[in-house]
């Protein structure tokens, strides 16, 4: 069970949706570009989508060098917010920092794409000027990261369309407990369990929170795939 990210293997539809999301994020966050990297549990880089080809090359740099805010955000499971690629950044990422600096980037903000222990990748915001994201921009970046997570989870099955199975409010403990239960029930990775839970909600035309509540209460049992 050590390949957490197996549940999210985005198809071409997901990649183009991620590119749109990155372009949208670039405008909202006054960024030079935004990129998304999909990663396996061991940190091996799978696929990148970005707002534009130049940003995609910058996004790839951390995998060329095997270091950078994105790599650290994935490993530490928390954002890594670098407001100034200065001397301190040089010490932390000696190969990566000069390379992005060369590309004109002065600030990098990396947000892990994850739901608890299900880790899917990282979203990176690049800016050509040093300085922090405002609180409003931080909130937006986190909202955009959450959208990237659902895109990755739903992306492999186009049949889901755009129907919204998520509640507007925080679904909280029952949903997360149900994720852990489905993982054991189906003998799959946690990320795959998230995908299967969502797929069940789509196909039965119900809200995710209702499906989760039924699973936690023992009223619903998902079946293993024998294919």
């Amino acid at each position: 069970m050590d390949h957490e990210a197996n549940g999210a293997r985005p198809g071409r539809g997901a990649v183009s949706r991620l590119q749109v999301l990155c372009a949208d994020a670039t405008r909202k966050l006054s960024a030079a570009g935004v990129g998304v990297s999909v990663m396996a549990a061991d940190g091996v880089h799978g696929m990148a989508a970005a707002s534009d080809p130049a940003t995609e090359r910058i996004e790839e740099l951390q995998f060329t060098f095997g270091e950078g805010p994105c790599v650290d955000a994935f490993a530490s499971r928390r954002p890594v917010l670098i407001t100034d690629l200065d001397h301190e950044a040089m010490l932390r990422w000696p190969a990566y920092t000069p390379a992005v600096h060369e590309a004109g980037i002065r600030a990098v903000f990396a947000f892990p794409l994850q739901v608890g222990a299900a880790r899917l990748g990282v979203l990176d915001v690049f800016r050509t000027h040093a300085g922090p994201l405002s609180r409003d921009e931080l909130g937006q970046a986190i909202t955009i990261s959450e959208r990237a997570v659902t895109t990755l989870l739903d992306g492999q099955d186009q049949a889901h369309g755009e129907r919204d199975i998520d509640d507007a409010i925080d679904q909280g403990a029952p949903l997360w407990q149900a994720q852990g239960m489905v993982m054991v029930m189906l003998g799959v990775t946690l990320a795959e369990a998230l995908v299967r839970l969502r797929a069940h909600a789509y196909t039965t035309d119900r809200h995710l929170s209702e499906v989760a509540a039924d699973i936690v209460a023992g009223r619903l049992h998902l079946k293993r795939d024998h294919s």
């Binding site: 069970m1 608890g116 852990g180």
Partner: protein, 247 residues
């Protein structure tokens, strides 16, 4: 709430100081703080909420389950003293939840809390420099005024909770706060996922699953968050938790 016992208070500060020395697990720390602050008075329970950068509050720790549900109720209804203390940035001191003033101010929360057996609630913002990063609720099952000195003591403990979020206390970067908070919020999700996984493995309730995970973490002297992480990524490596009937 009756007057805070000086002896109990001293113990709380000793334990807090102990916890803050080494690298520590934020959720475990907040849980400990909730338990200890609740222990300051005979009839009190405590809940702690933290805000994300979107200014949405999330439940982090409570001294008991009823209090947890009362905190979650406030979050869902956006109604109650904890929500007010967070948005107002000042303590909300309430003496009697059955009084008309309380019902008028919190039409959803007040009757709900009374039904749950509570009579008084006080809420304290978690302050960090200019920021309000969360709130601590102090619930009582008797009508109780809180004296000025007690208000100051509990507010000080709420501020300790806020400072604890900055594990690297010497670092000045404001970004650290967001990094820590997002990390802690995600750790809570991992713990819930682990509860579900253990509950399903052993056919037990999620609460019993939590006791099992916590018991294992304590016996093996490992952090709760680390054990939970392993449960959902590599359960087989924890035979004591993985094998059915191992309780």
């Amino acid at each position: 709430m009756t007057t805070v016992s000086a002896e109990r208070l001293a113990k709380v500060f000793v334990e807090v100081a102990d916890s803050l020395v080494d690298e520590f697990d934020l959720i475990e720390f907040l849980q400990m703080l909730a338990d200890r602050v609740a222990g300051l008075a005979d009839d009190a329970t405590v809940g702690i909420l933290l805000a994300d950068p979107k200014r949405q509050l999330h439940f982090m720790a409570a001294s008991d389950e009823t209090t947890k549900f009362l905190e979650l109720f406030q979050l869902r209804e956006q109604d109650g003293p904890c929500v007010d203390a967070f948005h107002g940035g000042k303590p909300v001191i309430n003496t009697d939840l059955t009084a008309t003033a309380a019902t008028a101010r919190w039409p959803q929360f007040a009757p709900h809390a009374v039904t749950a057996g509570f009579r008084s609630v006080h809420a304290f913002p978690l302050r960090l420099r200019q920021e309000i990063i969360g709130v601590m609720g102090l619930f009582g099952n008797t009508v109780g005024d809180l004296g000025d000195s007690d208000v100051q003591i509990v507010q000080a403990l709420a501020d300790v909770a806020a400072i604890s979020v900055l594990q690297e206390r010497t670092i000045q970067r404001a970004e650290i706060l967001t990094e820590q908070l997002q990390g802690a919020l995600n750790s809570r999700i991992v713990i819930e996922q682990a509860k579900g996984a253990i509950a399903q493995t052993h056919g037990i309730s999620v609460d019993a699953a939590f006791q099992m995970i916590r018991g294992y973490a304590r016996r093996t002297n490992r952090r709760l968050g680390d054990v939970a992480q392993t449960v959902v990524t590599d359960l087989a490596s924890l035979p004591e938790l993985a094998a059915p009937g191992s309780r």
